[in-house]
Amino acid sequence: MFTSQVLFFGFGWLFFMRQLFKDYEVRQYVVQVVFSVTFAFSCTMFELIIFEILGALSSSSRYFHWKLNLYVILLVLIFVVPFYIGYFVVSNIRLLHRQRLLFACMVWFTFMYFFWKLGDPFPILSPKHGILSIEQLISRVGVIGVTLMALLSGFGAVNCPYTYMSYFLRNVTDSDILALERRLLQTMDMIVSKKKRIAMTRRQMYQRGEDQNKQTGFWGMIKSVTSTQTGSENLSLIQQEVDALEELSRQLFLETVDLQATKERIEYSKTFQGKYFNFLGYFFSIYCVWKIFMVKFWSQHISFILVGIIIVTSIRGLLITLTKFFYAISSSKSSNVIVLVLAQIMGMYFVSSVLLMRMSMPLEYRSIVTEVLGELQFNFYHRWFDVIFLVSALSSILFLYLAHKQAPEKHMTL
């Protein structure tokens, strides 16, 4: 049991080093440890579910491990990770650098306050439990995690067919890309020539300014005022043109990147691997559409295999999405904070998966989960998941439709 935990810890460590932190230097080992610990305990929970179904180990030891795991995960998710997030965010802000410990504690208390307030509007548990019991904490973590899961699933269900189906791929030819690149280079050349003019004018002004300073007296003053005024007016005009051109160059660059990515996707879809994924994409898209319209999608008779597949694919999908997200928004300053936020999301995601999975397990296995997690209103979570899933799927459909609409219009103007 513990060996597998160590194994998961090692895997999380490796993932961190190889994938997430490829380009950055690990200065704070705390971040790495926290991430790996979160990953290890999250995976252990899934392992326990599988053991439950298989009947491995004795019932009491399983119960013990469940409890232990739960305590540790809650500790990490609610105390450790938010505190470190606050700490790293605060240390990035230069003003508060001196008393960062104090401010980190303040941030943590604010987090706990909002975390507590979160429980009020939801009918999650019966009032006979105390304040600091497991049920209180789990219920809140569960709500956040379930919301997150539903959002991600909704978006994934819509995005998956969009990405894989070649029907959606626009027709991008090499000449389109070349034309855009030429425009980009022309814009850069224009920027360069305008900047040369600015530099030349500034130099002339500087040299003339020196001569002007030598002129004293009344006429000298008047002359200097008039000449520099026209000089600086010209300068500000050219500077405005340069700013507009720079904005244009940025947009052209982003458009070119977009076109290149589309072209690569088209090429990929023509290879054998691409065709295989294409087929999978059709299959998944049908499945996803069915999911959207059949709200009660967890039927009572889903077997152990499906649970295992769901676990593995959701872990893999989550890690891939997190990695992509990390590459998109990280920089050397904020990488620590972002990794911790990702660890938090991952932990909450896994905890709520356990909650939701209870519904898909046959009756005899549900008992231990219910026993361990106490009296939570599980039905509420399922209803909440369905609602958020629908909302997320519909809004992603709208968003993607708008984005797709906008793209062909952009290319009409080329």
Binding site: V257, Q260, A261, Y327
Partner: protein, 234 residues
Amino acid sequence: MASLDRVKVLVLGDSGVGKSSLVHLLCQNQVLGNPSWTVGCSVDVRVQDYKEGTPEEKTYYIELWDVGGSVGSASSVKSTRAVFYNSVNGIILVHDLTNKKSSQNLYRWSLEALNKDSSPTGVIVSNGDYDREQFAENPVPLLLIGTKFDQIPENKRNEVLTRTGFLSEDFNAEEINLDCTNPRYLAAGTSNAVKLSRFFDKVSTDSQTENITDTRTNIIIIIVNSAFTYMSYI
């Protein structure tokens, strides 16, 4: 064909090392007040007096092309970046002295830029692995600049300077270590300023010779062509 009097220098390095601050310092002689993300490529122009004080004095505009991004970017970003690497006369490699990974990534940056270089003297590059000899006979002058020098504590400075010494040997380039928020490091008369003007002079000379070689090549081609045409009438 390189256009006359165009001197183009690339400024490469990982994101966040301080390329934009450096370029601003080199061109405007001022510290950049509000650094923000560079999307795509930003260009600035430095006015350089070549061979100042001699009768051959000439004023050059050196274009500093600050290309943003990271070495691990998606291939679509890399292929788009490649359009900026054409006809380059010099490369400034920037790394962050407080971050070892940024120094290591410079090998990949230089390979990315040199692989795409389409200068007429063409560098023959191996299959992408780092090869020291290729840098020894590289026609494009390189300059190595380490930033955030002020953030290194006194006791670590020697260690850092040794490391950058090895780096500059590998690239066969001069190195400058500075802090982009302090113009004192590049004040006139400092060794850093001397290295900088030497680098820019070398870049300007090379571009001149390239132009002359181009013109000479063109003239030779015209002469040979007309000779053939003349001979065909005989």
